[in-house]
Symmetry: C2
Subunit: 181 residues, 2 copies
DNA sequence: TAGGCCATGTAACCGGTTACATGATTAG
DNA sequence: CTAATCATGTAACCGGTTACATGGCCTA
């Protein structure tokens, strides 16, 4: 799912600005499975406008640059529905922490503890964030999606907490072996 | 974690070729949290060699091009350990399916069912794959990491299965409303 | 005999990030 | 007085993918 599709998805539910699309994708209800920066959103919107999939209406503001409010067109809706029809690709998951955990023996128990605690912190923050979104968000599908995220992150958090000391032990034992050699 | 760091990590545990690094990152024990193609691995290895972080020894083979076996150097080990010291960034998670689930109302119950079934299929395949790796892999840290993956994917799979019909209902109800308008 | 595996590598391309430029307003 | 929020946009850069080139061996 590229930024273009994300814009179409958000605009399908109502008109917005590039600025607000970024907020939605970074803090809002889309934030736990997408990401987009201004440098990709603004060009994507201009391109969509050129292609006739969205329209743009300007709203003057004093001081600030005028808000460019985008709305999806009928052909935009069709294009988006067509895109949604094709089966979803697999999830993409990248984890710096799991590379570290795999190398726990190399860095030793103290650093391992630090890394897993940082990781647990990340997960807690993400979970809090998702719960907040769930509370603020309406719409059954959005709720379902949110709940999915909460469920998965909770599971990860549980594992990390319950097996924290096991990983640190692994790091400790193996570093002892390394030292003994 | 870029490809460069991945190469260093793998070489830390023993010498290999670019070809085998790709296999490890696509099918092996690193596969569920990293990814790399030849087009990024080969240039990364040459660069690491230039920087003196790895060395390369060529092994002739008849017919095939010679295997270039890379090994990490002492400064490579130091560089890698230094990189591992800094706290892990948050996990990256991208999901096409969750964008679809959020738009369940738009595509209706049949397409929603299709999408979630595809998604469940992906998760099952990944889980199988991870279990296979767990069986084949030695090393306590690698096991811990593998188990983490299994735990998280199982949780996702459970949610998807247990709430499959709920999502399809959401899609059905809302499409009825759309039709009624 | 077609396709997959082994094994390397390069070049074109692409999607995206980062950093910059602009500038008023408001909150701490 | 500083930092953040609002609001747009561009240009340089970068990490990575895709597709190609090469070619022998082995299996179905």
């Amino acid at each position: 799912m590229n930024v273009r599709t994300l814009c179409l998805a958000i605009l399908y539910f109502g008109e917005t600005t590039g600025y607000d699309i970024k907020k939605l994708s970074m803090e809002g209800k889309y934030s736990h499975f997408v990401d987009a920066s201004f440098g990709s959103i603004y060009p994507a919107l201009s391109k969509l406008e050129k292609e006739g999939l969205v329209t743009c209406r300007q709203e003057a503001q004093d001081g600030k640059p005028p808000r460019k409010i985008y709305a999806i067109t009928e052909s935009g809706r069709t294009a988006f529905r067509t895109e949604l029809m094709e089966p979803p690709g697999p999830n993409v998951f990248r984890s710096e922490f799991l590379l570290i955990s795999m190398c726990a023996e190399i860095i030793g128990p103290e650093q391992t503890a630090r890394a897993i605690d940082t990781h647990i912190g990340h997960l807690m923050a993400e979970l809090d964030h998702l719960k907040k979104i769930r509370a603020e968000t309406e719409g059954a599908a959005a709720h379902w999606t949110c709940e999915y995220g909460i469920h998965c992150i909770s599971a990860g958090l549980d594992y990390a907490r319950n097996n924290r000391s096991a990983l640190i032990d692994i790091a400790a034992q193996t570093s002892l072996q390394n030292a003994a050699q």
